[in-house]
């Protein structure tokens, strides 16, 4: 928490140098709605349920693989994105609707909501500033072995971290890092929520054991493990292997090429620079914001080319001997 008192020196969060949107236009972009996001939410839930049904029908055939990828990928992308948008409080105009969907999507995603909200707030304040950004897993200034990247790209690392954090917080053990970005009065609520999360997980395991069913594994655990790899491919495009400790968002953050199908579940986070530029703008208005500022932004690439770029950068760094040879990228 920083000093916000009368004489506070303003920390200028990362931004797009010299980029302004006319005030009236920005106000109209910031306005919230219930109808459009509710339609998006229902479309996601019903289509993902349909993919789950296809996956079930395809058991015992070759089609189980593509349907598992489709079901798991869309479920992971949706739960991550809806939880993220609701953490901002921008998903819905009605606060109760926002918080209800926040809980639903966070349970599906597997991260306790209050921790998610505060760690993400910290990420927006200090986007890709090493040792300040709470959602920055490693730095390009240190040699990181390929196994570390594999752990992140496979999502195994964040599954492990989410569970570990919930268990520690349920026990009332908060790291200095967590305390640094969470106001003291929120810690008991974080502990209460973590206990609820543990009860949900243990309850689901208990019910599965009691009824001797593998449904939880086939319809949640396995699709989530597979789907989170797809989700991570998208999440990694946002900041991995970009410049660090830099206030210019075009140096630290990437937008990606818009794709109608994936953006349906990714809730328009392909407009990621735009989102960091104005986090108060709800996801469904990001295309309009993009139209206002796109001439100030780099041309976006697709997920695959970026994943290859990131892989090359990490491989080169892994192979490099001289630490001084490591250069921080400042372009896409």
């Amino acid at each position: 928490m920083s000093d916000t008192g009368i004489n506070a020196e303003p920390w200028v969060p990362p931004n797009l140098e010299g980029t302004k949107v006319e005030k009236k236009k920005m106000k109209s972009l910031m306005r919230r709605a219930d109808g459009v996001p509710l339609l998006r939410f229902l479309l996601c839930v019903t289509s993902i349920t349909f993919y789950g049904w296809l996956y079930y029908l395809s058991w015992g055939t070759f089609w189980v693989i593509p349907t598992l990828i489709l079901f798991g990928g869309t479920m992971s992308l949706f739960s991550y994105s809806a939880s993220h948008e609701c953490a901002h409080g921008t998903a819905f105009k009605s606060r109760w609707l926002n918080e209800s969907v926040f809980w639903f999507s966070s349970i599906l995603f597997g991260q306790e909501p209050i921790y998610r909200r505060y760690s993400h707030a910290c990420h927006h304040t200090y986007t890709w500033f090493w040792e300040k950004d709470a959602q920055m897993p490693f730095t390009v200034r240190q040699k990181v072995d390929l196994f570390t990247y594999f752990r992140w790209y496979s999502s195994l690392e964040y599954h492990y971290l989410f569970v570990k954090i919930v268990v520690l917080h349920a026990l009332g053990r908060f790291s200095d890092r967590t305390r640094s970005f969470t106001p003291q009065p929120e810690l008991p609520k974080m502990q209460r929520n973590s206990i609820i999360f543990m009860l949900i997980w243990l309850g689901a395991i208990g019910v599965s054991l009691y009824f001797q069913t593998w449904a939880l594994v086939w319809f949640y655990v396995l699709p989530k493990v597979v789907g989170d790899m797809i989700n991570m491919s998208f999440v990694a495009t946002q900041h991995f292997e970009m410049a660090e400790d830099d206030l210019n968002l075009t140096h630290t953050t990437r937008s990606i090429k818009h794709h109608w199908f994936w953006d349906l579940y990714y809730w328009n986070m392909s407009y990621h620079i735009e989102h960091h530029f104005a986090p108060t703008v709800p996801f469904h208005k990001l295309p309009e914001l993009n139209a206002e500022i796109k001439d100030k932004l780099p041309d976006p690439k697709g997920v695959m080319p970026i994943t290859i770029d990131v892989y090359k950068a990490m491989r080169n760094r892994h192979l490099s001997v001289e630490k001084d040879a490591l250069e921080m990228p400042t372009s896409h």
Binding site: S2, I6, P10, W11, H88, R95, R117, P279, T280
Partner: protein, 102 residues
């Protein structure tokens, strides 16, 4: 002793909007809401962010950085990530001019 300082004119602030004002190096935010004009300290109590760039929804100001919300009439923190109330200031309108008591 508290004094009244002229901040701006009523025409300077659109309906359901906020205006930033600085006096003696201190930032203030003045709100035009459906329930009248209100004023508060200009910086969010959560992190350093200028409320003049936020969104006014009825009598609520939403911080532009992390979307924490305050009731501008009382300064009460309404939703996470804010949980410390905002300092508010009395406002009066005289002949189209807005004054703050600071």
């Amino acid at each position: 002793m508290a004094e009244w300082i002229k901040a701006c004119q009523t025409d300077d602030i659109d309906e359901e909007d906020v205006f930033g004002f600085e006096h003696d190096g201190v930032k203030y935010a003045i709100y035009n809401t459906p329930k009248g004009f209100f004023a508060s300290h200009g910086i969010c109590t959560h992190e350093v962010a200028m409320l003049q760039d936020g969104l006014v929804i009825d009598t609520v100001i939403e911080c532009p950085l992390h979307q924490g919300r305050f009731d501008v009439r009382t300064g009460k923190a309404l939703s996470a990530p804010v949980c410390v109330d905002l300092k508010t200031y009395p406002v009066k309108v005289d002949n189209g001019d807005i004054y703050l008591q600071i």
